[in-house]
Symmetry: C2
Subunit: 211 residues, 2 copies
DNA sequence: ACCTGAACACCGTTCAAGT
DNA sequence: ACCTGAACACCGTTCAAGT
């Protein structure tokens, strides 16, 4: 998969090893999954010694954190780029599909971004702000839909609800917890679940009225 | 944490090593997390040789799968036990709280159950049916709420929507993706997000009407 | 400043041998 | 039938030394 795993390179200094490590790690990640991504295998694929990575990242966790940060930035980008043009009545549906597509395109990265691999206690500032940026795109979408200020409590609650739903659906699909028949498209799954919420809330409203 | 890690035991045969491995694995899991749960450390804690576990489980993946199966069975149990008595208008809210409490009580187990650690391709039959049992409790709750047959399309869609939401919220909270102020209880977070859905659907209904 | 080499303390897993 | 012992091919991480 990589150019020269075994053959030694000609110059002692690589020059841009940080970038190469990140780029190769990103593709290895999708091949083997976040838990099996190994620094040694990564270095070996780039033709450097196992310990070379430690001059660019303090440890494995920091490399993973940088990959996750990349992921959040790309997700934020994709969400704001593709959701702006959606008409109001297709806003939620379209937004969820964009979100799910990102996860489908980068399954291992998505799992890394939201999984337990990222130690919450030693989380770099970068990662935290990138994550916040992605969430803010969701808040913008919701504020737009509700025609309410972005810092209102309704927007925050609705955005949190939306994130819970779409992340939950994404995670269930990605981890194959749901045994979806392969002929049902992601689009239809989103339609069906959104319709499911509607049914649920009508029933709930009816039950509280009748008391 | 365990009785005799170093001291050798008196009899060559343990007798119930399978059960001991599972029980100890369960508590080690919550201490170190699923990705760092090691068969060698587990065997050493029980005073047996690193390879002893292989006479009871084909490999590490199978032990994890059995733990996850236990988890799904317990979740199903807890959901059906505690949700039966809930009045209709508190059904969703109460159910979600029971679900979230299970995850709070067994965070590493929950992450294992829904995480990428479980290889989807080689999943034992047991695990699949236990998972299905847990989901069926959700369907029962929804069918009860909607007063519709359990095999109706509305129930299936609404159950899938509910599972997406509560799993998403649980995962976001467990992985500390959400920076929840510590004074806000889980109960209030559920209230707020459910209220968020309501706001969202009223706005959506209004937007489709006005066209 | 950047990378190597040797070393340490771990892993999962196999297989032949012991009880 | 159940467990050990030795071995293999891996890990992450450290530290002194080379370029």
């Amino acid at each position: 998969m990589r150019s020269s795993p075994t053959r030694p390179r000609r110059n002692y200094h690589v020059g841009n090893l940080s970038e190469q490590l990140l780029a190769t790690a990103r593709s290895m990640l999708e091949e083997v999954g976040s838990s099996k991504l190994s620094l040694r295998a990564l270095c070996s694929a780039l033709g450097v010694t196992p310990t070379a990575a430690y001059h660019h990242f303090t440890n494995r966790a920091e490399l993973l954190a940088q990959l996750a940060t990349e992921g959040y930035l790309e997700l934020a980008e994709v969400l704001s780029q593709n959701s702006a043009a959606l008409p109001t009545q297709k806003k939620i549906h379209g937004f969820c599909l964009i979100y799910l597509n990102f996860a489908r395109d980068n399954p291992a990265l998505y799992q890394l971004m939201f999984g337990p691999e990222l130690a919450a206690d030693t989380m770099p500032e970068q990662l935290h702000t990138a994550r916040q940026l992605a969430f803010s795109k969701l808040e913008i979408m919701v504020a737009d839909l509700l025609k309410r200020p972005i810092d209102s409590i309704d927007v925050r609650n609705a955005a949190l609800a939306s994130w819970s739903y779409i992340h939950g659906l994404t995670a269930l699909l990605l981890h194959e917890v749901l045994q979806r028949p392969s002929e049902v498209s992601d689009q239809r799954i989103i339609e069906r679940t959104l319709a499911g919420f509607e049914v649920l809330f009508k029933a709930h409203a009816a039950s509280t009225e009748s008391i």
